[in-house]
């Protein structure tokens, strides 16, 4: 990981030579390569390095006995800060009596699976939970959500003859009527550049007024994650992020980048295909993953 890479760079120097500004620059270059390899967005990495540079060229660093450890610690602390800091709010403390939650994102990012995972989580917490199947386009999308809903024994609102907006309204009305506390709405995958579908999901949001609108992002997404997230945020408005497929070995730099650029918190992390595999987001864990 980063410690080894920096160790190699710093081992070339010795003694008093140790931490001149030029040396720090060399270390920073190494950090930049590591961040880019981890899919951290180029612009985010550049800004990040600025803040690391400021902290790393202080005299206390220059006098340190183990500059590698000190710089790695600075990088790690800065990453944790950028990811939300050491005290992130738990994502499952719902204060309202009715909490509609909308999931949106690119095709295949993990929305349907995440909807079911969140439904199970809230149900286990004792909240009366319902799912809403709003993907009317993908073959067997509704079946997929129905199967998952059956597995976790959570009711799912389905109307195969409705448009997504109509189904959203109807699901909302039914959930209210039934005293549902958490309504998880799964939407169809869509491109941020598809105006028609972006209008559609914005309308779904307008008619359901969700307490959370989560952008679901695949942990292995590359540099374009920033563009994707900014566009969803600008065209629809998001309140948080769910990162999926974190159980792979993708370094998840996209998660850092999206959080950093949109300012929206990462709330949940999917850690497997099974419906129990989701965790509240913990910055320290993601920082370690990005550092490798």
């Amino acid at each position: 990981g980063l410690t080894d890479r920096l160790g190699k760079v710093f081992s070339k120097w010795s003694g008093a030579d140790r931490l001149s500004e030029a040396r720090v620059e060399e270390g920073l270059r190494e950090i930049r390569i590591a961040l880019l390899e981890a899919d951290v967005n180029l612009k985010v990495a550049t800004e990040f390095l600025e803040s690391v540079r400021e902290k790393a060229t202080g005299t206390h660093i220059l006098l340190s006995l183990d500059p590698v450890q000190m710089i790695v610690k600075i990088v790690r602390d800065e990453l944790i800060e950028l990811l939300g800091g050491k005290d992130v709010e738990p994502p499952d403390e719902l204060s309202a009596s009715f909490n509609p939650i909308l999931l949106l994102g690119l095709q295949g990012s993990g929305k349907t699976t995440t909807a079911a995972k969140l439904a199970l989580h809230f149900k286990k917490q004792g909240a009366k939970t319902m799912l809403a199947a709003l993907d009317m386009s993908r073959p067997a999308a509704i079946d997929q959500l129905e199967v998952l809903a059956g597995e976790i024994d959570v009711p799912v609102y389905v109307d195969r003859n409705a448009t997504p907006v109509e189904a959203a309204k109807a699901a909302l009305d039914l959930a209210r009527k039934e005293g549902i506390k958490v309504l998880l709405m799964d939407s169809a995958g869509r491109l941020h550049i598809d105006d028609e579908l972006m209008d559609e999901v914005r309308t779904i949001k307008e008619v359901t007024n969700p307490v959370e609108t989560f952008l679901v992002v695949d942990a292995m997404t590359g540099q374009d994650a920033v563009n994707i997230a900014e566009t969803f945020d600008a065209k629809v408005g998001i309140t948080g992020l769910c990162v999926t497929k974190f159980d792979g070995d993708a370094r998840a730099g996209a998660a850092l980048s999206v959080k950093s650029v949109t300012g929206k918190p990462i709330r949940w992390v999917g850690t497997g295909e099974k419906v129990g595999m989701i965790e509240p987001f913990i910055p320290e864990r993601m920082a370690s993953r990005i550092l490798g």
Partner: protein
């Protein structure tokens, strides 16, 4: 007109940034910049236009220098299995390929070997119906190799031209799931011994550097002979394929350019690179 931008240090830095932002990766991007800079020096080229042309042809060369591949031999049963991580577009691409082949009057059979994910078989059955393709499937939760066994037998019996196998998405780091692919491959070899077997790895154009690890690990467990890049209709450039093709010389056969069954394009290096610069 009459105004030519000089290719100076800033210009090359800008090119490096563009390559990185396209997911080419910082190491390969740096190497490419170095190479085109050297070539520009050799030919005394100083204009930005000329340097971009050099870069374009370099990228095209990389993407064209691949192993030859013949997945559709008219004289044999061809078995094509689509593999890849979760959600990258395998099932949809399989439908696209089925229709693409049927338009060439080939006799196609589909095997629904994703027996794990919720409604995976339902999804593929809908596509099979829409494309008028017969499909072999098994019980939810059944051994995928058992479905492939049945499908291989059926393909041989029916003298099918092509057997297309859909598999469950699997992260390349899951050893047991990768072992499962080995078992499926053995089943194909045993039950369709004379078949022309090709496995195609599907990659999502939005994926960053992890695509490289996907290729390495999928190749280590089954005969991946070609690549498919899906979702290239988004804004991601799919630059990770450059490092992959440079190292593995794996041909890219198809691009997925949308969610409809007709949204498939045969890969052309020139067109792919041209889109980057448009």
């Amino acid at each position: 007109v009459g105004f030519e931008v000089e290719a100076g240090a800033e210009f090359y830095d800008g090119l490096f940034d563009q390559l990185v932002l396209s997911d080419v990766g910082s190491e390969l991007a740096a190497k490419l910049i170095e190479e085109i800079r050297a070539r520009a020096r050799d030919e005394g080229a100083t204009s930005a236009t000329r340097v971009i042309e050099i870069l374009r042809s370099k990228l095209e060369d990389i993407l064209s220098d691949t192993e030859p591949i013949a997945p559709f031999d008219p004289n044999r049963l061809n078995v094509v299995m689509l593999v890849g991580v979760n959600g990258v577009g395998k099932t949809t691409m399989l439908a696209k390929i089925a229709r693409h082949l049927k338009e060439k009057n080939l006799n196609v059979l589909i095997a629904a070997a994703d027996t794990f994910r919720a409604a995976a078989v339902d999804q593929l059955k809908i596509w099979a119906e829409r494309t008028g393709t017969p499909i072999v499937s098994g019980q939810q939760g059944a051994d995928p190799a058992a479905v492939v066994f049945d499908a291989a037998k059926a393909a041989v019996a029916r003298k099918a031209d092509v057997l297309l196998i859909d598999t469950a998405g699997r992260l390349q780091t899951k050893k047991n799931l990768m072992e499962e692919l080995k078992k499926i491959e053995r089943t194909i070899t045993k039950n369709a011994p004379d078949a022309n077997v090709h496995h195609l790895l599907c990659l999502d154009a939005n994926t960053g550097q992890n695509a490289i690890s996907q290729v390495e690990l999928f190749r280590s467990v089954c005969r991946v002979r070609g690549l498919i890049i899906n979702k290239i209709d988004g804004t991601a450039r799919g630059g990770a394929v450059l490092a992959i093709v440079k190292k593995h010389r794996l041909p890219i056969l198809f691009l997925g350019v949308g969610e409809n069954v007709g949204d498939i394009v045969e890969f052309d290096a020139g067109e792919f690179v041209k889109a980057w610069f448009s």
